[in-house]
């Protein structure tokens, strides 16, 4: 399973390196969304906002939706599914590999957006560095849940519009826990409770994915 996961992860990351969709499409969208958040708050509040962590996660969620769609669309190339079936790859490994690749992409995006929120929304740099471990766990949980939801909605009618409808409400608890842990890091509060919730979510989604991804891929 681990070998399959590493293979699939390397394949997805290689596709990303070659296509540069993350660099030229997803990241500019994320930066633009962050700027729009500042514009929506207005010049007086954008630079002194306690909403910084929430806005950071909101933008990250929007970016994550694009990346989940992208992660599933690379499997849509004619013959890909048949090849995976013929190779007899372990579905749990495929799930973990796709999740790991998505998490890696989200981590890169998260760090850039975090720097952007320090710059644009004047979030404290020290607080942002303290929040980094919790951001990594939150984005990993988002990646795992996102891979599951991506597989659920792929291929059907209106898959691109269905993904936000299904995934955003499910991501809400992750958004809340992520925002609270970020805010706690900014105000030197206790972050362990939120870390625990995020870690439990990561484990639960991973376990469900390992168990059920094969069912979604059955033909």
């Amino acid at each position: 399973m681990i070998r399959t996961a590493l293979l699939v992860c390397a394949k997805d990351l290689r596709i990303e390196m070659r296509s540069r969709v993350l660099l030229w499409q997803v990241l500019p969208f994320g930066v633009m969304a962050l700027l729009l958040c500042g514009i929506a708050l207005g010049p007086a509040r954008a630079g002194n906002s306690s909403a910084g962590p929430g806005l950071f996660y909101l933008v990250t969620l929007l970016v994550a939706l694009l990346m989940i769609n992208r992660s599933q669309s690379v499997e849509k190339t004619p013959g890909t599914k048949a090849s995976v079936a013929t190779l007899g790859l372990d579905p749990a490994g495929v799930f973990l590999g796709k999740s790991l690749a998505l998490a890696s992409e989200l981590w890169v995006t998260g760090v850039i957006l975090l720097a952007g929120s320090v710059l644009v929304l004047h979030t404290s740099l020290h607080g942002a560095i303290l929040a980094l471990p919790s951001v990594i766990v939150t984005l990993a949980a988002l990646a795992v849940a996102g891979t599951l939801y991506g597989a659920l909605t792929s291929g059907g009618d209106g898959a691109a519009t269905l993904l936000p409808v299904l995934a955003l409400p499910a991501f809400a608890p992750l958004l809340i826990a992520g925002e609270r842990s970020f805010s706690a890091a900014l105000h030197h509060g206790g972050i362990w409770r939120w870390w625990l919730i995020l870690s439990v979510a990561l484990v639960v989604y991973s376990a469900i994915g390992i168990l059920l991804y094969g069912v979604l891929e059955e033909s």
Binding site: D157, P169, I208, V215
Partner: protein
């Protein structure tokens, strides 16, 4: 015997609902603090009980049974689908009755309370389940995906249940029992509350049964229409 119990279930449900209505609206005395407003306690908690636990429980268990190969059958898929559809109605009723109580008690129709928000999110997820079913034409693919989603949604139910303890926002905590299982409501209030829980649970299963029958009929009609269209095409082919 089975036929008789099925026939009696409807009248029994209606009787239980009637008894609940009479007791809750007329016989039980008004509350010392909240007055007549407290009568909503004989509707809102039992509707929420059905919405969160009974209907979602039914949908989640049926979905899990569908995913398990030994119990996989179209019946499980249908039950999960119908239970989810009924749950949408009960979640909407939960939010509406909660708002009716919230306006005089809190002064607003809606607050950003953890229980309210998480319940509304569950409602959107249930609607998402129905959208997911509509998005897939292949019955087997639809059933598999819906079953996985049905299990995934169930994660939110414990979050909603414990939200009043974790976040400690405006919504009250446990109403019937304390954390050490001591009864908080006594006498006729307790009995009326118990009857309301039983009545609404029966109402759920009654609606579910009819919704299930409707689904079977719909599938039969869809199958018959397809068969009819194929026969017409065959006849056209034979003539030409």
């Amino acid at each position: 015997m089975k036929q008789l119990s099925q026939r009696l279930f409807g009248p029994l449900t209606l009787t239980a609902m009637g008894v609940n209505l009479v007791l809750g609206l007329w016989i039980v005395p008004p509350d010392k603090v909240q007055g007549e407003l407290a009568r909503l306690v004989y509707i809102h908690p039992s509707v929420a009980w059905v919405a969160l636990y009974v209907s979602f429980g039914t949908a989640a268990i049926s979905s899990a049974l569908y995913l398990w190969k030994r119990t996989r059958s179209v019946v499980m898929d249908r039950v999960a689908h119908c239970a989810m559809e009924v749950s949408v109605v009960f979640i909407a009723l939960t939010l509406i009755t909660g708002s009716i109580w919230g306006r005089p008690a809190w002064g607003v129709w809606w607050v950003w309370d953890a229980r309210l928000t998480s319940s509304a999110i569950l409602g959107v997820l249930a609607l998402g389940y129905l959208a997911l079913r509509r998005a897939n034409d292949d019955p087997q693919l639809r059933a598999r995906r819906s079953a996985v989603f049905g299990v995934l949604i169930a994660i939110n139910v414990p979050i909603i249940h414990f939200s009043v303890q974790w976040w400690k926002t405006l919504h009250q905590g446990a109403t019937v029992f304390t954390s050490n299982r001591t009864l908080l409501i006594h006498g006729i209030q307790a009995w009326t509350l118990l009857i309301s829980f039983i009545a609404f649970t029966m109402l759920f299963f009654w609606i579910l049964r009819y919704r299930y029958r409707l689904e079977v009929l719909r599938e039969n009609i869809a199958g018959a229409s397809l068969e009819e269209a194929l026969s017409a095409r065959r006849r056209e082919g034979a003539q030409s």
